[in-house]
């Protein structure tokens, strides 16, 4: 890890107005897989030390509530020995030279672990060298603390702000030592989010709050049938609404972007734009998907898993042969619906097109993609597109898609004025990129010892990748759709995973934790059924089968191989903390599940009771291992939030397709878990394996549905295999 050459990625200069500016090239030192083919060799992260001792970190990652601005700033501040109260985070803007700014896959801490700490340590060394020179002492006699350099013998100290300007002229040390975990002062301790101030004052600016001079507001009526187009429209009534300035057709942008065809009404205020939109008369061409429905998808997916899959994702031994000869085959069919991200802030984007250039203020998780697609859609060179990041009211994967950015750019170009395109909740729910619906069928047989001998898992979904590319990735559509299925971690001598693509006009996208959210539901439910059939304890049963890598790992992250001991570690910790196996109050039962998602490990125990067909969740215990924990407070929030979002999906959320479009409209029909429905007790525990950290954003979500279904099974004897689970909360 010390192979990174500091001189390649650090540049220190005097800052305008005094102080010091260090620029860090992340692309040059990120792990290769995550760098995603970035070739840029220019700086990407800025750390500025001001004369007033404040330290400003500009972070090229999107903040959407996951606390990345806090945890990344902590990486710098820890090694810098900075006074945390003086550290600020600044929003970045997109520039291709910044490398991969995409925020997703629980990757931010993982990608920045080495570079940001190295940057902090390097800066610290330079500040120490400057002070030592000033005092004429040996740098080795100097210490640092809370943004001060101290010289104990001379009883002298200087704050970083006073040293910064001179430090900028120091040579960059070739090698620095990073702190051992035992020496951490900031990291590993609870920190509240760096943005809580502006948020609690209501001054934090989200995409929806952006206002630029001369800005108009637009609301767009989009086709409600996916694949539909505008045949004709009458804009007279809309133009008659006071405040409406213009009505423009949006032609739509196809696969990879999915801007829906529609008609935009532009006005001087949001209210007039929406009123004008209601007044439009549009004739639609329904397109090829108008007859599709959730039922039609289910019917074909159900049929698909009854026979051999179109693709074999992986296979080991001879599962078909063993199953054919087995006296008793245990089978389960699991079904999950489309899901919406339903971020609290509906999609929106502000764009200003002028003189062949466009500037955007976009709540995007992926400014790189937004820039590229806006450029393409407007026929501009990427350098003529500037994307400013805003605060984001939730992301969960939805804001990776560039559709809302491209749409705003198209409207601004059409009217030649700055415009904010505001989505209603209805727009947001009906034009999302949905977590695919799925049908899973697992057939398994047990050996004489009760352990599984054969396991054949068939999956059918409308693949996410189909929404972005016409040809399948190398290896087929299956591998990305069977994360959590094909790579399930149990040692079973004969196992296979097959995949069949379901055709659908519904746009699909990455919903927090992606394919594991349905794959793990099927796998972990089925494992529990097998344990029950074998008359074994579900925890012992699992642990007996977690002892190696039983599938071919993808080559993307060689530094983070699957480790059986880590999965076993979280499983055991969750079981221990929950008091697994100990007597429970009458009517209570526990269910457990575990899994590996986005390179991290999580296990969860649910303690429930069911009275009068109503479910009570008394307690949830989650244990996770993503390596060392930078900000326990933030990590716990991710785990608890992940559990609750998982529960929301397990108990309530369902997008229904009817006539080729989404039937739900608002939160009354797309119901999210509310505060009174969230479990009162969620306990989060960490296993901090001594390795480079991964992420906490996603791994707590996928085990939820199965863990809960397993608990309900043990409480009632009823196995629920369809999401959302057919049970209501008390």
């Amino acid at each position: 890890m010390s192979a990174v050459n500091r001189r390649d990625f650090l540049k220190v200069t005097a800052a305008v107005g005094g102080g010091l500016l260090v620029t860090i090239n992340l692309a040059a030192c990120r792990d290769k897989g995550a760098a995603g083919g970035t070739k840029a060799a220019d700086p990407s992260v800025f750390v500025r030390i001001n004369p007033d001792n404040t330290i400003v970190v500009t972070i090229p990652k999107s903040e959407m509530g996951q606390g990345v601005r806090t945890s990344l700033a902590m990486l710098v501040a820890e090694e810098l020995d900075a006074d945390w109260n003086q550290v600020r985070a600044e929003l970045a803007y997109y520039d291709p030279k910044f490398g991969d700014m995409g925020t997703g896959g629980s990757s931010s801490v993982r990608q920045n672990w080495m570079p940001l700490r190295t940057a902090g340590a390097t800066l610290r060394a330079m500040l120490v060298a400057t002070a030592a020179k000033e005092w004429g002492v040996d740098a080795a006699e100097c210490t640092t603390d809370n943004s001060f350099v101290h010289h104990a013998k001379g009883d002298r100290k200087l704050h970083y702000g006073a040293l910064a300007a001179k430090a900028a002229t120091q040579p960059i040390p070739a090698d620095v030592k990073l702190k051992a975990k035992a020496d951490w002062k900031l990291m590993g301790k609870d920190r509240v989010g760096i943005d809580v101030g502006p948020i609690t004052h209501g001054t934090a600016q989200y995409g929806l709050d952006v206002k630029v001079p001369g800005m108009l507001y637009a609301s767009i009526e989009r086709t409600l049938v996916f694949g539909g187009t505008v045949k004709s429209f009458d804009k007279a009534a809309a133009l008659a609404v006071p405040g409406v300035k213009d009505v423009v057709e949006i032609k739509g942008v196809g696969i990879g972007v999915t801007v829906h065809p529609g008609v935009a009404v532009v006005a001087t205020n949001t209210w007039a734009a929406m009123k004008g939109r209601k007044a439009l008369t549009i004739q639609w061409e329904a397109g090829p998907h108008a007859a599709e429905s959730s039922e039609s998808y289910l019917a074909t997916m159900r049929a698909a898993v009854e026979k051999k899959g179109e693709e074999t994702v992986n296979t080991k031994g001879d599962p078909d042969g063993v199953l054919a000869k087995s006296a008793k085959v245990i089978s389960g069919v699991f079904e999950t619906p489309f899901l919406s991200h339903a971020t609290m802030e509906p999609m929106n984007c502000t764009a200003s097109f002028k003189d062949g250039q466009v500037e955007l203020w976009s709540p995007t998780q992926y400014p790189d993609m937004a820039t590229a697609e806006v450029a393409k859609a407007l026929g501009l060179k990427p350098e003529k597109v500037r994307v400013n990041l805003t605060m984001m009211g939730g992301g969960f994967g939805r804001r990776i898609n560039p559709d809302f950015s491209v749409e705003a750019a198209l409207v601004s170009k059409a009217i030649g004025q700055p415009v904010k395109v505001v989505w209603t909740r209805e727009d947001d729910l009906r034009h999302d990129f949905y977590r695919p619906c799925s049908v899973h069928r697992i057939d398994a047989s047990l050996g004489p010892d009760g352990m599984p001998e054969a396991w054949r898992h068939r999956v059918s979904t409308p693949s996410i990748d189909v929404s972005y590319q016409e040809k399948p990735p190398e290896g087929g559509w299956g591998p990305n759709e069977t994360d959590g299925s094909a790579n399930m971690s149990y040692r079973i001598p004969n196992r296979s995973c097959e995949y069949t693509l379901q055709a659908s006009g519904v746009p699909r996208g990455w919903w927090r934790a992606v394919s594991t959210t349905h794959g793990m539901f099927a796998v972990e439910s089925m494992i529990d059924d097998l344990a029950a059939a074998a008359g074994k304890d579900p925890v012992e049963y699992r642990i007996a089968m977690i002892d190696g890598v039983w599938w071919k790992q993808p080559p993307d992250f060689p530094e983070y191989p699957f480790r059986a001991d880590r999965l076993k570690g979280v499983l055991q910790l969750a079981a221990d903390k929950a008091g697994w196996g100990k007597p429970l109050p009458k009517g209570h039962a526990m269910g457990i599940s575990c899994g590996y998602d986005h390179l991290s490990y999580a296990a969860e125990v649910f303690e429930v009771s069911v009275v009068n067909d109503r479910l009570r969740i008394h307690r949830v215990v989650v244990a996770a291992d993503a390596g060392p924990v930078v900000n326990p407070n933030g990590a716990r929030a991710m785990l608890e939030g992940g559990v609750i979002m998982g529960l929301s999906a397990a108990l309530k959320e369902r997008v229904t397709i009817k006539g080729g479009g989404v039937a739900q409209k608002n939160f009354d029909s797309y119901s999210l878990l509310r505060i009174n429905e969230a479990p009162v007790v969620i306990e989060a525990y960490f296993v901090e394996t001594d390795t480079a950290p991964t992420g906490f954003g996603e791994p707590a979500v996928p085990p939820v549905a199965a863990g809960l279904a397993n608990a309900i099974f043990r409480a009632t004897g009823k196995r629920l295999r369809t999401l959302p689970l057919d049970i209501k909360l008390a």
Binding site: G65, Q205, A637, M645, A678
Partner: protein, 152 residues
């Protein structure tokens, strides 16, 4: 038509469409974007403000119907530099993730506390159930409200 009302202690006037919501007036015309547009149906609570002290979904009340009334938004909750105890409690308990719902949560919590209905966790959970948080900072929100109640 014209509407005159007091917002965060200051008398203000504006010309509005009679069908526009108070939320439209606050955000688009007064630039007070702390109240968020989340659903426009009273389902999410992100637009909660106080009108004459009452918790009010600013998406469900017409701007013109608030003439002469006194509106408090998140921007006007603190007393100068001194934070409202609920703001401070949300910070202390890290009762937020993305923060988009937070202004509405804080004002709903203020109303809950002022009504004397934060005596148990369950009471807080019922009283706050009109405010959605997709990031699910729910445990911390309950803790923050209860902490303020305990200190009162």
């Amino acid at each position: 038509m014209e509407v005159r009302l007091t917002v965060n202690g200051r008398e203000r006037g504006a010309e509005v469409d009679p069908r526009a919501a108070l939320l439209d007036l606050l955000r688009d015309q007064f630039g007070l974007t702390g109240a968020k547009r989340g659903c426009e149906r009273g389902e999410c609570g992100a637009c909660t403000v106080l009108v004459d002290g009452r918790p009010t979904l600013s998406c469900l009340t017409l701007a013109v119907a608030n003439g002469g009334r006194s509106v408090t938004t998140i921007e006007g909750l603190a007393d100068g530099d001194r934070l409202h105890p609920v703001q401070q409690a949300f910070i202390d308990h890290d009762a937020l993730q993305c923060g988009f719902c937070t202004p509405g949560q804080i004002l709903a919590a203020v109303a809950c506390l002022d009504a004397g209905r934060a005596n148990t966790d369950d009471e807080v959970r019922e009283w706050m159930s009109g405010n959605l948080c997709r990031c699910a900072a729910y445990p911390q929100i309950v803790a923050a409200v209860r902490a303020v109640a305990a200190a009162r």
